[in-house]
């Protein structure tokens, strides 16, 4: 399993570093712009007033005034409520699809299956390598805000970035686990992406719908985007226990289901 883990990391770390470099570049830009934008916060607040409150809420802004209140509220709204989740979801789905279904589609799985290596060891070797790289991605795309803020002499609540890292990691870890499950049961990458992206998009829509109409409010509990609130984690420094439970359970359940399915299934390449 160690060999699979190590080889997977060696094959994929390049992609993680590119993603992280892009995110760090964006962080540099936002933190650098923040002092200038904050000085014009009054004018922006006027513009924001024209947006419906529920619309702002759906996109992670609790209120227009709160937007420039701190670097955390600014970063939460600009980076960690939408851009970062999109990057995280893409990266986690791509890693998960590459774990199993990509090997089946390409036909390389027969090389792997001919080795004296149990299916479970291969599955978990691949799974944990991907999870480890997602942890690295999360850390390198959230925590650099602390030194960059120092560089620009902007004050920040550093411990909240660690809390955001944990919440964000659990969030993309859950999506990674769901996609790994589909990767283990399908024969085509397109099907894996269709199923898992379908689930993520449905959850995103449910979250928006729940904030638009009061009678649809309960739909929010079926959405990961309800539990993963960058503003709660980063601005309020609050780790909701539901976030930990929902994402941890999702990770465990889908990982185990994926392992069972993969170890039992027929694997025939075309």
């Amino acid at each position: 399993m160690i060999k699979v883990f190590y080889t997977t990391i060696r094959d994929r770390y390049g992609a993680v570093l590119i993603y992280c470099a892009a995110v760090v570049g964006i962080i540099f830009m936002y933190v650098g712009l923040y002092p200038a934008l904050q000085s014009q916060s009054q004018q922006y607040a006027e513009i924001f007033k024209s947006f419906p409150e529920s619309f702002l809420k759906a996109f992670g802004f609790e209120s227009a005034q709160a937007f420039f209140l701190s670097l955390e509220s600014f970063m939460s709204a600009e980076q960690y409520s939408l851009t970062w989740p999109i990057l995280g979801v893409i990266l986690s789905m791509s890693f998960a699809a590459n774990n199993i279904v990509h090997e089946i589609e390409k036909g390389t799985i027969e090389f792997i299956l001919s080795l004296p290596l149990s299916r479970l060891k291969f599955y978990f070797g691949r799974y944990f390598a991907g999870l480890f790289l997602l942890a690295i991605f999360t850390a390198l795309s959230v925590l650099p805000v602390i030194p960059i803020a120092k560089l620009y002499d902007v004050s920040c609540v550093w411990e909240n970035y660690f809390k955001l890292s944990l919440g964000a990691f659990l969030f993309i870890g859950a999506i990674y686990s769901i996609t790994t499950f589909f990767s283990a049961i399908t024969n085509e990458k397109s099907k894996t992406y269709a199923f898992s992206a379908g689930i993520v998009i449905t959850m995103y829509v449910l979250n928006i719908l729940s904030s638009l109409k009061e009678n649809l409010e309960n739909l929010q509990y079926f959405s990961f985007f309800h539990y993963f609130s960058a503003s709660k984690l980063l601005v309020d420094g609050e780790i909701d226990i539901h976030l930990v439970w929902v994402f941890s359970l999702t990770i465990v359940i889908f990982t185990v289901l994926g392992a069972i399915a993969y170890s039992r299934r027929d694997i025939a390449t075309s």
Partner: protein
């Protein structure tokens, strides 16, 4: 003699499709067993079930005395496998593939010799290899850890005749040293040259298992006959004889087993020319394919 492979009533159904439908056979240790059959007959499905890539609907597969599914990891240490049209990682070099396998199966003592014998440069990335070199990589991966059993799905596809000969010699030596070879092939002359026995599968069923030496003794003849004039086809009807083609007093017949009934018929005709030959082993294989 001890069986290296024992397959008993193997069935693999994919929904309504019966890919393999109750085949049984044994391959003895030290034997080279050819596995033949037309496309879609169930050869690759059988091999995949033997390698535990797919699970049988019913039936038993025992390899080197162990259950192929329960002892899959143990057996893969003993088996050198070559997949039909094997795929590898485009961005890995040949060396990385070899090292990866060695990470699981231990360092190969014969890798240097194999690379030299097959003339493969280990520094080239898989995506840049020609189809012949890709096949060489598959062969080297199958052989490099000196397995007890080789399971090969069309091993010489894309190899030039010189390398085919080199490979044939290698597996003959391998079998002489006590190794067992189970190989599927569409190359009938290869099977004739290399294998001790053949199993022929068609529509998921095993239609024949014969020793090559016995197959060669199977009496089948081609008869080319020219008569003075047109004759009725029914005149040539005899036990075991079949008219394959006829034009303007020229007739081609295939005769199985006893040639005497047709000879008696021919003796009654006015024959201008007659040629009787033994059919090749390839024709005998084709008989089984088409039965």
């Amino acid at each position: 003699m001890e069986a290296a492979i024992r397959v008993k009533n193997l069935k693999k159904h994919f929904g309504a499709t019966k890919a393999v439908d109750g085949i049984s056979f044994e391959v003895q240790k030290g034997e080279i067993f050819g596995f033949l059959g037309p496309n879609g007959a169930g050869k690759t499905t059988t091999i995949r079930a033997m390698m535990d890539f797919i699970r049988p609907t019913t039936g038993e597969i025992e390899i080197l005395g162990k259950d192929s599914q329960e002892e899959s990891v143990y057996l893969k240490e003993k088996i050198g496998f070559l997949a039909n049209n094997a795929k590898f990682y485009d961005y890995w070099t040949v060396r990385k593939h070899l090292d990866y396998q060695q990470g699981f199966r231990g360092k190969s003592k014969i890798l240097g010799d194999l690379l030299k014998r097959f003339g493969l440069n280990p520094r080239i990335k898989f995506k840049n290899l020609s189809s012949g070199n890709r096949q060489k990589l598959s062969i080297i991966l199958a052989l490099m850890n000196e397995p007890e059993l080789l399971i090969l799905d069309e091993p010489t596809v894309a190899l030039d005749p010189l390398l085919q000969n080199s490979f044939h010699q290698y597996i003959k030596d391998f079998a002489k040293a006590g190794g067992t070879v189970f190989m599927s092939s569409h190359n009938l002359s290869e099977v004739e040259r290399v294998c001790d026995r053949v199993g022929i599968i068609r529509d998921g069923k095993m239609v024949a298992i014969e020793r090559i030496s016995e197959m060669k003794l199977m009496k089948m003849y081609d008869i080319h006959l020219h008569t003075a004039g047109e004759i009725e086809i029914s005149t040539l009807e005899a036990e075991g004889a079949e008219v394959i083609s006829h034009t303007d007093g020229s007739y081609t017949l295939k005769v199985k087993k006893d040639i005497n009934p047709i000879l008696k018929k021919l003796a009654t005709l006015e024959v201008k020319d007659l040629e009787i030959t033994h059919v090749s082993l390839e024709d005998i294989f084709m008989e089984f394919y088409q039965k």
